[in-house]
């Protein structure tokens, strides 16, 4: 039961990252490998805002989300747009985003150095105990923050004009173009929103783990795994996949072996891919060229 509970905060983080992958994939058909590094950049930028401008946690969160979202737009503008113009094969797009990941990771290394930074938690570090179970306030904050962000995203997608355009493009790109949707703008929006979501995940997780220049690789990969296990390109499925993965990891680490935890995760992934390629929580795969 404790393991189950421990899996929730990390699951919430995976869900956010999975969401960011799914959003970009659905909206622009791109597998963006630099998502994990947006998580890292989010944590670092918030850390710097914290340290040099002494802003509060909420302000650091929002500022960092905004800045990383802007980075997402830059990536879309400088890299995705020329690739689209040249009709590059999908794998080249993936490799270009890998290039973005390498560049941003090493720029972070050059700026913030190789030492792990400690990110102060905005809440008390004394865990709360209920019966035999204990939770830290930070864990609660993570889960709460993740749900807030998901709510905001849901609102933006369902209720605003831009969000509706984004969903239209996700459903049928050609039809959306014919209806007068500017796909360049919707792509930029998807990249910005995804990067900002990743950044938020980074800030929420930062007080639990240390902030390092290569923290993005692991979280990014796990987030992607969660998105695929749930069902890539579908938002509720990505969230479910995130929590599912977090709980499975926590159980596997606690009950079987912590060394093999990740190996179990990846075996599960390959099994899911093999037996249910559309994901655990989706009925059938969306056909995508």
């Amino acid at each position: 039961m404790q393991y189950l509970l421990n899996g929730l905060p990390i699951g919430a983080i995976y869900a956010l990252v999975a969401l960011s992958y799914s959003l970009i994939y659905a909206a622009s058909g791109v597998l963006n490998w630099s998502q994990g590094d947006m998580v890292m950049l989010g944590a670092y930028i918030a850390f710097s805002l914290f340290q040099f401008f002494h802003v509060g946690f909420t302000l650091a969160l929002l500022g960092s989300m905004f800045l990383v979202g802007a980075i997402g737009v830059v990536v879309q503008f400088c890299i995705l747009r020329p690739l689209r113009k040249r009709e590059a094969p999908p794998i080249n797009v993936v490799i270009a985003t890998l290039g973005v990941a390498i560049v941003s990771r090493n720029i972070a290394l050059a700026i913030w150095g190789p030492e792990a930074q400690i990110f102060p938690s905005p809440v008390s570090s004394v865990p709360m105990t209920v019966g035999a179970l204990s939770v830290t306030w930070q864990d609660l904050l993570i889960v709460f923050g993740a749900f807030c962000l998901m709510g905001v995203l849901h609102y933006l997608l369902k209720k605003t004009r831009k969000g509706k355009a984004l969903r239209a493009v996700a459903q049928d790109r050609y039809a959306a173009i014919l209806m007068g949707v500017d796909t360049n703008k919707s792509d930029a929006l998807a990249f910005a929103a995804s990067a900002a979501l990743g950044a938020a995940a980074g800030i929420l997780i930062a007080p639990v783990f240390f902030v390092t220049f290569n923290m993005g690789a692991g979280i990014g990969l796990k987030g992607f795994v969660a998105a695929v296990i749930g069902g890539l390109g579908n938002i509720p499925a990505a969230i479910a996949g995130g929590f599912f993965l977090g709980i499975v990891e926590s159980l596997a680490g606690g009950l079987i072996s912590s060394g093999y935890r990740d190996a179990i995760t990846f075996t599960l992934l390959i099994l899911v891919l093999w037996l249910r390629p559309s994901g655990l929580f989706l009925r059938k795969a969306r056909q995508r060229a």
Binding site: I91, I102, N106, L273
Partner: protein, 331 residues
């Protein structure tokens, strides 16, 4: 016609002679070491080109096969002291089996799903190597992998390794070249272009896909065997996801639709990462930048670019293959 054949022969002879005398000319052991490493990476990249460039199945888990090759051959040689060729053979059989196993789930996948499955495979291999301590010696890795010995000839210096590695690379290049220009190569390309159409034309897609996976696994496995004896030590840290990404970059930057591209890409990236070593963190920033630049402006890699340029110079009527169609915009 005869003239062309002659010229081709002369070029091949000159290249062969250059390869033969290179260790004599390059007296600096460090350079020779880098060249040897590039040779090992060439093998992996050739396998990857057959798999992803020709057949269209992208793998980001080649480091897994590479690791299996190193560990199987290394452990057999260390623990049982069996001769190099036998250990190498066993390693190739096991990596081929791994290739066949990963081909099973890969059969039903494409695009990002396939990429992720191969990433998963690579990570599983690394984590098992890291955690199955009684057999693989865990994080400490293998040390003291014995030097390869053929009857009485012991391979130990950089230049001896050079001849060992490059005879394998030449053999591997020859086999790959013949394969790529045979019915098999064309079948691979047919699968890449349109799987359904290929199936409809009577191609047994699953059989050829499995074959491509096994081939790439064997190439990476052989590279692993050589890497083990060449460096003498190996640990799970040598076979990370980042390494798989590097191999993919070599393949794409060189040009993944030709065997020559594999060679160019491996040598260029190995050379570049050594040359930029002094820049430390900035090295990888440049590396990433080159990567982005390549996929945007020369999607067929350096070899593709060379072909385009040559065609343009010759004034051939056919348009360069990589030029985008003007005025046409597709989302």
């Amino acid at each position: 016609m005869i003239k062309r054949v002659m010229r081709k022969k002369i070029i091949l002879l000159a290249a062969g002679a250059a390869i033969l005398v290179l260790p004599v000319l390059v007296s600096n052991n460090y350079y020779l070491h880098v060249i040897n490493l590039a040779g090992i990476y060439t093998l992996i990249t050739i396998g990857l080109n057959l798999l992803s460039g020709y057949t269209g199945q992208v793998s980001m888990g080649q480091a897994g096969f590479f690791a299996v090759g190193t560990y199987v051959a290394g452990l057999l040689a260390i623990n049982l002291n069996i001769p190099f060729w036998a250990a190498a053979l066993a390693a190739l059989v096991i990596t081929a089996a791994c290739g066949a196993i990963i081909a099973i789930p890969a059969m039903r996948l494409s695009g990002p799903y396939l990429v992720l499955a191969t990433v998963g495979f690579g990570e599983i291999v690394r984590l098992v190597l890291l955690n199955w301590t009684p057999v693989t010696r865990g994080a400490a890795g293998l040390t003291g992998i014995p030097l390869p010995k053929f009857f009485t000839w012991q391979c130990s210096s950089e230049s001896q390794f050079y001849y060992l590695i490059f005879s394998v690379v030449l053999l591997g290049t020859y086999i790959a070249y013949r394969l790529a220009h045979s019915k098999v190569g064309r079948t691979f390309a047919a699968i890449r272009e349109d799987e359904v159409a290929a199936e409809a034309m009577g191609v047994r897609v699953s059989r050829y896909k499995t074959a491509a996976f096994i081939l790439s696994a064997v190439y990476a496995g052989m590279a692993g065997v050589l890497y083990g004896v060449f460096s003498g030590v190996a640990s799970p840290d040598n076979f990370t996801f980042d390494d798989s990404v590097t191999f993919l970059c070599m393949s794409v930057i060189g040009g993944n639709r030709s065997i020559a591209g594999a060679i160019v890409g491996s040598f260029m990236l190995t050379g570049m990462s050594e040359a930029l070593r002094a820049l430390q963190a900035y090295r990888l920033i440049i590396y990433g930048g080159v990567l982005i630049f390549t996929v945007i402006y020369m999607p067929q890699g350096l070899v593709g670019l060379a072909v385009t340029v040559r065609k343009a110079i010759k004034g051939g009527k056919d348009k360069p293959a990589s030029a985008p169609a003007e005025g046409e915009w597709k989302p």
